[in-house]
């Protein structure tokens, strides 16, 4: 049953949207905003910038995008020193924390830029990122996130067959990756998914991203949510602490076409 949405508000906090926005992170926020609005869910976005305190109890979803090295360095210090405690409290309280690309790296424990320089991360994910010599990992990517048992996360069941003709296929996220860092997960850290096409965390392990409770990190941009509208809805529902099936259905014909095109670009039919 679809619940009435008129009295709901999705409260999103974007961290450093002025600096961590390089791979069109704005598209992700726009997806969340409009998909709420079209359902009558109020959308409220707070931008939390360098030096500003974060109030963990005032948000349902915290978003961290990616930036250039210099900007990422600026944000890393601030993230750990100014906002670290609040982010840990938010994660413990079940607030959805989504880090993409640079944001994902900062959710991990550390990012080693060179043998001499290591940036401390938040440690919300048991992941360590190392910049190694060698080419950046760049290209279209598709991952299968049907890994409920490993992550402890329950992804939604097959969606409406009429609007999602591929519902029998595995749960795929499609996107684009472009990262110099290689991310290595700790032995008990669940990845977000298995790489179907592309490089993933380190180009070797066959895994992509990481997820712990309500904290999710991934290298998939492109941006991620326009190419995977179902995942945007899963985030909205999880942040609102309702079942995704309770969200009012939308006309997703163009969304579905864009998803399939992004999968094709990655070489997955």
């Amino acid at each position: 049953m679809v619940v009435s949405d008129s009295n709901r508000t999705l409260r999103v906090c974007a961290l450093y949207p002025d600096l961590l926005n390089i791979y069109a992170d704005r598209g992700n926020l726009l997806m969340l905003e409009l998909r709420c609005q079209w359902r009558g869910i109020r959308y409220q976005q707070t931008n939390c910038l360098l030096g500003e305190p974060l109030h963990s109890s005032q948000h349902d979803l915290i978003y961290i995008g990616g930036g250039q090295d210099r900007d990422q360095l600026l944000c890393a210090r601030d993230l750990v020193q100014v906002k670290g405690d609040a982010l840990r409290a938010a994660a413990e309280a079940g607030v959805v924390v989504l880090g993409i690309c640079g944001g994902y790296q900062l959710l991990g424990r550390s990012y080693q830029l060179s043998p001499q320089q290591e940036i401390q991360g938040l440690g919300l994910l048991d992941a360590v990122t190392v910049r190694q010599p060698g080419p950046r990992l760049i290209g279209n990517v598709a991952i299968d996130i049907n890994m409920d048992s490993a992550s402890g996360v329950s992804w939604p069941g097959p969606p409406d067959r009429r609007s999602h003709p591929d519902s029998a296929s595995p749960r795929l996220l499609a996107g684009f990756e472009n990262h110099g860092g290689r991310t290595h997960l700790g032995p008990r850290q669940a990845p977000l998914g298995k790489v179907v096409r592309g490089f993933g965390n380190d180009g070797r392990s066959g895994f992509e991203g990481a997820v712990s409770g309500s904290v999710i990190g991934t290298y998939l941009h492109g941006p991620l949510l326009p190419k995977n509208a179902w995942f945007a809805d899963w985030l909205i529902a999880t942040a609102l602490r309702i079942d995704p099936a309770q969200l009012a259905p939308l006309d997703d014909a163009l969304e579905q076409q864009a998803h399939l095109a992004a999968r094709r670009a990655a070489g997955v039919q």
């Binding site: 390089i22 326009p226 190419k227 163009l254 864009a258 670009a265």
Partner: protein
């Protein structure tokens, strides 16, 4: 053409002793070019690529023969138009140009232009003409360093750096660093620099160097309300504090200062003021040069073209052209290949406006929004290597400017679906959006879907780079466009 990785810096002097003599290498490269043409290849740079492989020092040897030397133009956006405008001014001055006018701006394209010219003077012209031969090269931003080293240009014009094809170029800061090394060491250190004062990343290149001339806009009436979303370079490169923008003209171009260390936009010696933008048709402005001011009526639209004209004027001025001559030539100029070019398809006017990165797209969208009425669009989004495989950038461009202004839009190209989705989320009603991947079919459908009689019949095509080439070659085959792709 635009498909190869930026260079690993091998010195052209590392010549093996067994290298072919230059004339033989040129002959072999010509043959390769002719064969490639026979097989239907359209790339202008094929003979140049072959020549560079046979003689890695060919560019520097051929450039040394140019009596007036070379000048180089680079930027993320506007290099083709800027050099086309500079060419039109200089040609009216009687300068004979060696110019990569088709936009092949990597070493292959530059070498191809040089070798083409190497066989030309004997046939074409008088002694006078040879004596006035000048190389005018637009250069891909990632190739600036090796090409400056080989060309030893007398003037280097640097216009802007915007985020563009991150999968191919990498981050802006990294390019700015490379440019800094290029203009302070080796051949680049000897060149005169013409820099855009309004771009903090570019202006900084002249801070610790002499022989620098700045150009910029001095007109707050064309300023935007605030920095747009696609703005980069928002922080002072000296101290890291956020710049204060007193005026934003385009992307992160504007009048800025650092409240912390006092760094500020240099005062431009060449500037545009009293700017008037006339929709998609034209623009006009007062051009001030160190040796006089003049009114320019530019038959190209948008503030971005005012910037292009300003850079071209600064270059021509540095090469001794007079303000009146510059204004006259700019007034007669035409749109470069696929850049606001006006053609006709099935009796409908078709204006092609290349879009390839967020800031460039924003200027096109801003210009379109200036034009009255509801628009018919053909958006073509490709994700080939030369476009950037990553199509994220369309989410950074402000397609919202078109919300409420689109009568009908067809989305085409390899990633047509993503463009359609972007337009939906920008506020274009889905009933106005059609998806048709193949460009030929999309063009036919777009041309046939006419607005009611009495309304503006113009169809606006917004293609990415390879989409623009495909669209143009379709139009050439239909006889609607000149195949200036010589």
């Amino acid at each position: 053409m635009r498909s190869r990785e930026p260079p690993s810096h091998s010195s052209p002097k590392d010549q093996p002793g067994s290298a072919l003599p230059l004339p033989s290498a040129i002959a072999a490269a010509r043959l390769a070019g002719a064969l490639s043409k026979l097989r239907g290849g359209g790339a202008t740079s094929v003979p140049g690529v072959v020549l560079n492989r046979l003689r890695p020092d060919a560019i520097s040897l051929l450039a040394k023969r140019l009596p007036q030397g070379s000048v180089v133009v680079s930027a993320t956006n506007g290099k083709t138009t800027t050099s086309a405008l500079a060419a039109s001014i200089l040609q009216r001055q009687g300068v004979s140009l060696v110019h990569n006018s088709a936009g092949a701006n990597m070493p292959g394209g530059v070498a191809a232009s040089l070798m083409q010219a190497a066989g030309r003077p004997a046939r074409v012209g008088s002694h006078h003409k040879i004596a006035r031969q000048l190389g005018l090269f637009e250069v891909d931003e990632a190739w600036l360093s090796p090409l400056v080293e080989q060309l030893s240009p007398s003037v280097v014009v640097l216009c802007n750096l915007f985020r563009d094809q991150l999968d191919r170029y990498g981050e802006l800061d990294a390019i700015a660093e490379r440019w800094q090394q290029t203009v302070t060491a080796g051949a680049g250190a000897k060149a005169q620099l013409l820099l855009n004062a309004d771009d903090p990343l570019v202006a900084d290149l002249g801070r610790h160097r002499d022989r620098v001339l700045y150009f910029g806009i001095e007109d707050d009436s064309v300023a935007l309300q605030s920095l747009g979303h696609a703005a980069d370079a928002k922080r002072c490169r000296s101290c890291g504090a956020a710049y204060v923008f007193d005026a934003v003209y385009l992307g992160h171009l504007g009048r800025y200062h650092c409240p912390s260390c006092g760094q500020r936009r240099p005062q431009p010696q060449v500037h545009a003021s009293k700017i008037q933008l006339n929709g998609v048709e034209s623009s006009s402005f007062t051009l001030t040069l160190p040796h006089g001011a003049v009114r320019v009526e530019l038959p190209l639209p948008g503030l971005y073209n005012v910037y292009n004209a300003l850079a071209a004027a600064a270059l021509a001025g540095a090469l001794q052209a007079q303000p009146q001559q510059i204004a006259a030539a700019l007034g007669q100029s035409r749109a470069a290949f696929g850049r606001a070019e006006l053609l006709t398809v099935d009796t409908r006017p078709l204006r092609i406006m290349l879009v390839k990165n967020p800031v460039g797209a924003n200027e096109v969208l801003r210009t379109l929004a200036l034009q009255q009425g509801q628009h018919d669009l053909l958006g073509i989004l490709n994700d080939n290597v030369a476009d950037g495989r990553d199509v994220s950038w369309i989410w950074d461009a402000d397609f919202e400017a078109l919300a409420g202004r689109v009568r009908h839009v067809i989305c085409a190209g390899t990633r047509a679906q993503e463009l359609a989705l972007r337009l939906k989320y920008a506020g274009v009603p889905t009933s106005a959006i059609e998806v048709c991947e193949p460009i030929a079919a999309a063009l036919a459908a777009a041309a046939a879907n006419r607005p009611p009689a009495g309304q503006d019949q113009t169809l606006y095509a917004l293609p990415t780079y390879t989409a623009m080439l495909q669209l143009r070659s379709l139009l050439v085959r239909r006889g609607a466009a000149n195949g200036r792709w010589s």
